[in-house]
């Protein structure tokens, strides 16, 4: 998976490392700001409300 991605990235090693870091950070940001807020509402983590 990561090897496949690595071989498809253009440029030399530093350029690929930079691109890879950028991809990982982007995915993490999407998770943190979009997916997790949505998931935390729909998962039964600390359901302090009442009556269902």
């Amino acid at each position: 998976m990561y090897g496949w991605l690595w071989h498809r990235l253009p440029g030399n090693v530093p350029a690929r490392t930079a691109a890879m870091t950028l991809i990982v950070l982007t995915v993490a940001a999407v998770l943190w700001y979009a997916v997790f807020p949505w998931a935390s509402v729909h998962l039964p983590v600390d359901a302090s409300g009442f009556g269902g």
């Binding site: 998976m1 943190w32 600390d46 009442f50």
Partner: protein, 217 residues
């Protein structure tokens, strides 16, 4: 081993590691991310409330004679709650509603229950963990601890009288006379609700208090 088999094992390992990393990130989000989000929401709600109170006519104007009225839509702030037993910096706004969308930014007033100072039962629910852990210490409240509710017109003081644990289905604690549906209330109660044990939804901690003073601001 053939190339294909090794490839499958390799990819499976990578997916498992990635899932683990995402899981850790999610835990980090629940512990820190939700608190940061709630803290900025609290600042916003607090200044919104102070602004509203400055614009609105204060008690003494003919318009506002009689007991304080509350007409709020879901998510709107209406009061500050202070509990000295939780430390000198513990203060949250209270908003209308207790769905996850509200609890994730602030403790909320349980719709259908009474309002601060009213005869009956003023019920407030808040997260035990996440969103700034507002009610983390709720189970440690003892009889005699004070709960202050500041609204536009009044400062209400409630004194804690009891604490118990119930199931989430035991909605009788929200009755005007808790546990006695249909009975006519005479006391002015507050009910604070959070989940127990922390991180779960299996039980609720219920802290009940009674109004001991109501002073116009």
């Amino acid at each position: 081993m053939g190339f294909a088999v090794r490839q499958v094992i390799h990819t499976t390992g990578e997916i498992a590691l990635t899932a683990g990393a995402i899981g850790l990130l999610f835990i980090g989000y629940l512990v820190w991310g939700t608190s940061l989000r709630a803290a900025s929401a609290q600042r916003q709600l607090g200044s919104e409330l102070n602004q509203q109170w400055q614009q609105a006519p204060a008690r003494g104007d003919a318009v506002e004679a009689g007991p304080e009225q509350f007409h709020l839509s879901t998510g709107e702030p209406f009061a500050f709650i202070t509990i000295p037993a939780f430390g000198p910096h513990w203060r949250f706004t209270l908003i209308q509603g207790t769905a996850m969308a509200q609890l994730d930014v602030s403790p909320g007033h349980v719709p259908g229950t009474q309002w601060p100072g009213q005869v009956g039962n003023f019920a407030v629910a808040g997260h035990r963990v996440t969103a700034g852990n507002p009610f983390w210490s709720l189970p440690s409240l003892r009889s005699g601890d004070l709960v202050y509710i500041q609204t536009k017109l009044d400062n209400f003081t409630y004194r804690v009288t009891s604490e118990k644990q119930v199931l989430p289905t035991d909605v009788g604690v929200l009755d005007p006379v808790p546990g006695h549906p249909g009975q006519r209330p005479v006391q002015r109660l507050i009910t604070l609700i959070t989940c127990n044990p922390a991180w779960t939804g299996t039980h609720r901690v219920i802290v009940t208090g009674v109004l001991v003073s109501a002073k116009p601001r």
